[in-house]
Subunit: 239 residues, 3 copies
């Protein structure tokens, strides 16, 4: 379902469950792979990828969500919401660089997981990334809204959450939703190269992770009621 491989400083997390839909079992397997990354020391970066020909991750495991008893392999339905969101929170603050190789569709929870990574590379010719809740009549939870808001420019954010825009690779790149596009064949190699380049930043996990916490964590400095000028003028109070 989830494999983790290591080649020198680059960890590769491979999602290998078809459409890679999220249920509690999938969340926990993903979490175990992160445990292994976090237990390592030295330069490190994580690449997340999918083996499917068409999907990066197609969202929640809806069959299981609607009838968990009929799909016991999906795990405990009750704890899913909290555990999934917490895993996303863990990815966004992972103390090593994270690169997401989006080889195909990434919808809903799949898009969220991609966005929690530091850098996104998307297939240039096919596939959409989309937060499709409005389209299918679901409320977007507030933590998910906050994720989109903190990762996307204001205009791309609004189109994403309010109109369920289906971003192609080139459009997503132009709007700042992904950083790179690539042909399907070169996507894995580019992701690996970027991970190798970034891995030295992961060597100092305390520094690299602490800053992510300051950006995205509790009482994030970015969300202070005061603006940059005030903080600069009173820097002793805001180290």
């Amino acid at each position: 379902m989830i494999q983790l491989d290591r080649q020198d400083s680059v960890f590769t997390l491979t999602m290998d469950a078809g459409e890679n839909r999220w249920n509690t079992t999938f969340v926990r397997e993903f979490g175990k792979a992160l445990d292994e990354v976090e237990a390592s020391t030295g330069p490190a970066a994580l690449v997340t990828r999918s083996t499917d020909a068409k999907f990066f991750s197609n969202g929640l495991d809806l069959d299981w969500v609607q009838d968990p008893d009929a799909h016991p392999e999906g795990g405990d339905r009750e704890v899913f919401g909290g555990e999934f969101m917490a895993l996303m929170g863990r990815i966004i603050t992972l103390p090593v660089p994270t690169i997401c190789a989006i080889n195909g569709h990434a919808f809903g929870a799949g898009f969220m997981s991609a966005l929690c990574h530091d850098i996104r590379i998307m297939r240039e010719d096919r596939g959409f990334i989309c937060a499709n809740e409005m389209q299918i009549g679901l409320k977007i939870p507030s933590p998910e809204l906050a994720l989109f808001r903190h990762k996307l420019p204001a205009n791309a954010f609004f189109e994403t959450v309010q109109f369920a825009r289906r971003w192609t690779g080139p459009d997503a790149q132009a709007a700042g939703v992904v950083q790179h596009v690539a042909a399907l064949e070169t996507l894995p190699e580019l992701a690996h190269q970027l991970a190798e380049q970034m891995a030295p930043l992961g060597a100092n996990r305390e520094l690299f992770g602490d800053q992510k916490e300051r950006l995205f964590g509790e009482n994030a400095i970015l969300n202070s009621p005061h603006g940059a000028a005030h903080l600069l003028k009173h820097s002793a109070d805001y180290s």
Copy 2:
């Protein structure tokens, strides 16, 4: 002054008062058209347009602002500020998709009204959108600053409010201020097509409108002192 037409799921609000300058009468007529949109049910989207050859909306009705007694058709001067701002707040949270067809200049209050719509299409070859307060020596009210900040990327926001930048269609599109540009002849058709596409999202007004309230309303989740990671990790507290 303001006409509202309906063709299947698409409402078209036509401003037909020359430069379409804002006074209390104009605000109230605009509001009546919104009443009609909001009283409808089923799939719906709103297109706002102007009949003028050169102007979408050229800002406040300055003649009336400076001498309301000489222009009684403009209505009650005392209540204008609050009613205008409240109308803008109503547009930005309208529970159906809103598309603005900017056929010509949109200055000051005209730019504000365009920005309160969900999607903007601008004529590609002529016309400027501009918040010209700094240029003419006026203070931008804080709610207007907040509107620009919540709708524009940080860099486009600053140029808009501090330097009264006159955005052309192509520049506005590149900066994320408008989503589309079109030739003058095709602008109405494109606006109508987009409205037809988006109208199904308006069928569920409670969902579609509630999310706008959560984005732009009281204690908006985006403005929490906490960042995305904290909200994700404590999602039970921030549904």
Copy 3:
């Protein structure tokens, strides 16, 4: 070290200390030039430039930081942090338009100083702007993080602070980090032209400076817990 010249409405602040590295002496000389700009009246704009062939400003004066006693010309080491940050806070709220002509590398504190200006023009063919703290293992102070966050779109912000991205001129322009690029030979002329165009906005320093305070100062309106719709609907409370 720092020269200030005036030609009609355009002040030009020239950094003439090689790599223009920041120590307390440099901060105070820069501040004296700002005193002179602020003491003027009438239309005014500031251009900041460097005489070095390769560097705009290469960051902190590290030799002095590490051994201030061996470099007494750098001034009082103890007060540096607070005085530098306060100077940045002063630039970002300077009540006249400020244009930064980035002729070469701008690293760390050099990038901060550029970003505190209103408008940036960058050499198109060579030179990087970069916040290199993560690269060299230093914590970015929170006021600096806030500065980047308030000036850059969300995606450019994250790459800048978390990955110490070295922005070229064209990439920086595409991402909204600088507003213009130019050939090295035309950079000074373009900066001067922009300053001349913008100088009239500086004539009303109270208005122009007050708005910068409202954007970037204490309890900045942009950082209200409420969104734009709420502020618009309750505009009487948020003038």
